[in-house]
Every structure is written in structure tokens, then in C-alpha cells.
Symmetry: C2
Subunit: 231 residues, 2 copies
Amino acid sequence: MLPYYLMFQEEDHLAGLYAASTVVSYSKKEKILRSYAGYETLYIVKDGVVRSFYTDEKGVELTVNLLKPRAIFPLSGYLSGKENLYDFEAFTDTTLYKAPKEKVKKLIYKNATLSSYYLERFAQAIEGYVIRSRFLANGSATQKITSALLMLFRRFGKEVRGQMIINLPLTHQDIADLAGVTRETVSILLGMLKKEGIISTKGKYLTILNSDQLSLKASENDDGSLLNLSF
Amino acid sequence: MLPYYLMFQEEDHLAGLYAASTVVSYSKKEKILRSYAGYETLYIVKDGVVRSFYTDEKGVELTVNLLKPRAIFPLSGYLSGKENLYDFEAFTDTTLYKAPKEKVKKLIYKNATLSSYYLERFAQAIEGYVIRSRFLANGSATQKITSALLMLFRRFGKEVRGQMIINLPLTHQDIADLAGVTRETVSILLGMLKKEGIISTKGKYLTILNSDQLSLKASENDDGSLLNLSF
């Protein structure tokens, strides 16, 4: 799927942990872990995608992250000594490993390859969150949606017969939850992007036809000035 | 100052790096590294505090982070393979170590203690950014400012004669840059917090007299409902 998949092809440092873990399955939309509920185990994504989100006081959900295979949750919360602040649910049908949290921590901390690997993932997450908070704080709806599409593309992009698709089934509501806008706004904007030949859709799958144009839309402010952000 | 200061008191794994580094000094407000400028060295904070920020198209600055001793920058950008997106400047008079970026990376990746240490710092940063993006996206001005004060308190808090002060000189503009609101709004709110006996100020230093009340204000929405966030 993505580079980090390949990194571990020959030597899987998580193998010892997998062997000592329980495998559990969840159906799409099923709740895995609720915010502020205690937990004794960490979850490692084996197959599928897990969504973390919170629900604001108006009942609006904001997707915090979409977790891919090898992601461990709630890892940053655990390592920073905080409560788990989010709900986690299966975004697609999902299989997870479960292992005692102390055991996972020890394994990561002892193994330089593993700790460097998660250090890079955390570094990417930090950069992503900072960019995202910039859009959430100040961006136009167009910027919020196009930047969400670019992030999905970066994380779930896959070349299929010469075309770049986002390899994840997505409803308009899913995109709205990520971008922090309404579903209606997403529908209108996706329609415009299709007309302009920037994206195309097939069922729940989205193809990026012109990523340069999409980047430009994410960067362009209402007054025509540009945000100098590299995706 | 804070726990991570003490962690390394007896055995400093960064010592080898310090020895191979150049020491450079910057005066308060002096620019250290500009966004999108190339860099061949990473900076390690020796003494003082460094501010990272970006300036939006309207010329408004938003503080991304305040970096304390032992922080390395722009580390998460470098480890995630991205350009440096922010400006860095001396927030107080500051002394920094400079060392080749590849050398810093090798040292961190080889040394399990160091990589675990930065893993925990990154984990804390991620949790902080997620909470922050929540306030930036949806919070009231009161929530933005009180949550900024709570974060400053968590990171720069120090007990002095039985009182908890934020051990960092702060202007109203500094707090505004962190909270993403105007200086005027900060001045009004700090006045209210003083009247209510929640904080007191002495010059540029702020004392938290009632952290429970401050947390409550950060959590309380306009309609009286509560955000369930733990600081």
C-alpha cells in the first residue's frame, strides 16, 4: 500500500508482538474504544482502516485521523501519559491485534529500529496536524476540502492503470468529517472539481486527475494570494 | 524546569552531540531560521526559548510552538522529509547548539534512550496539537485564551513560594499570537480573570491562582455545556 509497508518486508520487528497478541475483528462502523474509557491494551491495525474522531457539543463529528495497518492506538495518548481523548471505530471492516500496553511500550523503546520508525510516523503526524490546524483556523471551505483530499491522496493514494486513486471508499460525509465542513458543501465542491477536470469519481472511489491544480486550490486564498504550503 | 530536564541529569546522551556542535547566540526577537529556506544543520536549544510561527496572508502571526532547552528544530519537519514550514526566532535571549542534520538523526536513531525520549516528546506534541486544533476550529475566544494559558502553565509552570507562576515573560500580544485572537481580546479577558481571582500578574509574569477555575473556563462552551478535555 505505502512505503512503511515495504520497510518491514524482510524483517518484521513487530513479529514478536503479533505472536503474543490476540486478534480481534470489527465490522465497518463498529466502535472499538470510547474516549475517556480506561484501556489496558493497545491496538495494532492488522488489516483495514480505523477512524479516530471526537464529537463536538453540537453533535458534529470531526475526524482526527484515519489509521492504516501497523498504526498503534491510542499510542501517542499513552506515551504522553494522557487519557485517551477520542472515539475509535472501524472505518472499514478491520482486523486488529491487541496487546498489553506496557509490553508494546517496552518493545518499542528497546528496539532502535521500531522506535525510529514510530518517531518518523509521529514526525509526519505532527507536520500534518500543524498544517491541518492552519486550515481549520483560517481556511476557506475550498481550502479545507481540497487539503483534506490532498492528505487522503498522500496517505491512501495508489496508482491504478496510470491513474492516481484514493484507495479508500469515501462518502461525502466522510470527507466533511475530515474537513470540518458540512456534507452539502462537500457535494457542491466535488461537483465543481469534477467539472473542472481535477477529479473524477466512481462509486465511493475518487481519482485525482490533476494534483497540481488540486494543490493550487488548497493554497489559493479568497483574495488570490497563495499559501506557500508544500503537500 | 521540567521533568525532561531531570531525566538526563545523570547521563546525558546528547553530550557527544554537544561536544561536536557550534554554540551560537541570538538576542530576543532575532530571526534564526526562515520558512522554506534550506538548512544543513539542526538547532538544539541550550538556554532560552525559541518561538516557531507562521504569518498568514493578512500579516497575522500564529505561534506554532515555544521550544525549551533540549528541543531540536526543525526536527519533525526534517524527520518527516518535509521542507521547514515555519519561521523560528529567539523568544528570549537564547543560546543554541548547531550540528549537521544527518549527524543528529544518526545519533537519535542509534540510541534507544534518545529515540524513546524524543518519541515521548513527539507524543506530547501530537496530543497538544490535536487539542489546539479543536479550540482553533471551534472554540470561543475565552476558550482559546484560557487553553493557551493552561498549555503555557503545563510547559513553563514553576512553583515559587507556594504559588504557580508561568516562568516566561509574556506580553498580551504573545498570548494573542498563541491563542489566535487579537491583543485587545486578550487584555479584556485577562482583566476579567484577575477580577475573578483566577490569575494575577506582576510585570510580564503571570500567576495561576486557581487552575481548576481556569480549566473550567477552557472547557465551558457558550451554552454552558462542557468540553470533556483533560489538561
